[in-house]
Amino acid sequence: MDGHDRLLAAFLAGDLDRAAAREWDEHLLECEQCWRAVREDRAGRQAAGLLRQPAPDGLADRVAFAVELAAVGAAAPHLPRRTVRLRRSWLAATGAFAVGLAVTLLVLLVPGGRTGMPASVAAVARYAGTMPPPAHQAGLATGNQAAPVAVGHPVTMTAGGQHITVRTWRLRGTEVVVATSGQPFPMPPGAQGTSGGGMAWVARAGKLSLYCVNGRTSELVAAPVPAAELAALAARLPLA
């Protein structure tokens, strides 16, 4: 690009002072070559402008959620878990939170978490660990047959090479996470099989109880309730 073209670029950018700009205005009336350059510049700018496209719905929420998780991951080694709960309420409240949200970040966060726990199970446990404590503990196993209410939208993540869809349900004041995967969730150390061949198992992870049922798909239920109550909760959920 020669000096003439640089001056033209500066003119088009509005960089020239008033006198110089007036000279260019007059020059463009006379010079067909420069006038063509101006028209091409304008056409190119308009063409490029066609490529603007708004960010997809839910991208901002996905990004914010990933950052929240990263913050949790950074804080978790130093703080009690209850102090690093995610603010899930805003996530549940936002209508833009896209179905199928991909939070592959969890894969990165999980390894430092629960020693010896399979990555996919640890990812679900970490996610479930962000839930608020139950509003009340009594009467979960028996009595009232209130229907579960979906909280927010499903979240998808990949952990340990396992693709997982996580849904959250609220049932009588308790939030329960149900993770579904096409691959079986591996039994963590200390888990107890409740049926032959590892078709179902229960385990504890901190304050969480985990209950896994393997069928056509593998479903891992997690909630901050005693293990004895989890099966009763799971029975009321629309598992596959």
Binding site: M1, D5, R6, L8, A9, A10, L12, A13, D15, A37, R39, E40, D41, R42, A43, G44, R45, Q46, A47, A48, G49, L50, L51, R52, Q53, P54, A55, P56, L59, A60, R62, V63, A64, A66, V67, E68, A70, A71, V72, A74, A75, L79, V84, A102, T104, L105
Partner: protein, 179 residues
Amino acid sequence: MGGDHRAFLDATMPYVDVVYQVARHAAGAGQDPEDLVQETYLRAFAAFGSYRGENTRAWLAAICLNTARSEARRRRRRPWEIPAQALLDALPMDRADEARDVADVVIAGLDARAVARYLAELPEPQRLSIVLMDVAGYTAREAAEVLGCPRGTVLARVHRGRRKLAQLLAAAGVSNGRP
């Protein structure tokens, strides 16, 4: 770091849309622009504690480009390769109604997919300058900060790139979405 994430989100979330504009054209083959935006924000968050810059959106764009570069290296592919089909599929089929005031220029009626195709043919410095300024809406000064070159250089690259893009489109006879 955990305590900073609110401040980070407050400072950076207004720019998700412009970062997405950059990511769509910086993502390499097989790389999802939305993943690139997310990775950009995670890297930015990791560095936020030491960030002392004044222009957050320029900082984010620079991280986005570097992240795309890293990913391209990781995949051992040519950096800045436009994700041909993925990008074209993501573009609107016909936005000729937005191409106003083109009667007096070379091109009448434009197909965004054709624009993307020919934009991809421009040399990288021109292409990135156009993406930053004309697509994502960065100022020349911001683009210069992102690309690490003088503002005048960015203006020159944008000017050359726009002209070349217009010439390519005109030569191809792009009109009303039908090249």
